[in-house]
Amino acid sequence: MVTTFHYLLLGAALFTIGVIGVLTRRNIMIILMSIELMMNAVNINLIAFSNRLQQVTGQVFAIFVITVAAAEAAVGLGIVIAMFKNKETMNVNEIDLMKW
């Protein structure tokens, strides 16, 4: 039988994969994709608890998370394009203009 615990484990697995992707990859596109993975993991948790408590609030919150994800993707990809125009690279190690 599928319990909330199963869904939380799935969410934890997806979130950890996203964290590993953000921390280890150098390609900025894949880092943005990993952030989307983490947001999906959070959504799974929210909806699992929405189902567990039989309340619709978790699903409303998940809609807001999706909204923020869309805004984040639009702005993030705008930054990627601006950066590519300036430095001709997608490698985050070479973006060190503001690094002390």
């Binding site: 950890t16 150098r26 390609n27 809609i63 923020v68 869309a70 805004a71 639009a74 590519f84």
Partner: protein, 175 residues
């Protein structure tokens, strides 16, 4: 039994494609596997009886965000980055940090395990049973959560304007 099969099918697809997203060298392949993960997560939403969210997931994530990703990948050169080194120099530290995170989450889930088991059957209230999932979400969105909803629309507007300004900014060479 059916929900167990569905959960493990969608869960396996989601996790395996997520691992492929962060390990492929070619960004286009990563985007394709991200699409597979998003579809699988939509299936997970369906098994949780969140039909409206499953539809939103497919339309907004797969139809909007993923297409945006593919557009940007198309605009910038992919060929060169395939042959570059793909992982950071600090990947060992990153993996150690992630292992600590895994242990922390696993400990928290293990301690809270008893309270997270679904009761065998939760009878929904009569009014909730009559209304569909989309209706319930819509009612909550337009009554209790009206202000956050409007703020979210302003956030989207700001994001659109910001993305256009960022992407259209001229480089010094063009001036």
């Amino acid at each position: 039994m059916l929900e167990l099969i569905l959960f493990y099918t969608f869960g396996t697809i989601a996790v395996v494609s997520a691992i492929l997203v962060i390990t492929r060298h070619n960004v286009v392949h990563s985007a394709a596997f991200l699409g597979a993960t998003l579809f699988a997560v939509a299936g997970i939403f369906l098994t949780l009886h969140a039909e409206f969210l499953a539809g939103v997931q497919v339309i907004v994530y797969v139809g909007g965000i993923l297409v945006l990703f593919v557009f940007v990948i198309m605009l910038i050169a992919v060929e060169r980055s395939v042959h570059e080194r793909q992982y950071n120099r600090q990947w060992r530290i990153a993996l150690i940090t992630s292992a600590i995170l895994i242990v922390e989450i696993a400990y928290g889930l293990y301690r809270g395990r008893d309270s997270l088991i679904l009761p065998p059957f939760v009878a929904p209230p009569v009014a909730a049973a009559a209304a569909g999932n989309s209706e319930q979400v819509g009612t909550a969105l337009y009554t209790s959560y009206l202000l956050p909803f409007e703020i979210a629309s302003i956030l989207l507007l700001v994001a659109i304007v910001g993305a256009v300004v960022l992407a259209k900014r001229r480089t010094p060479a063009e001036d």
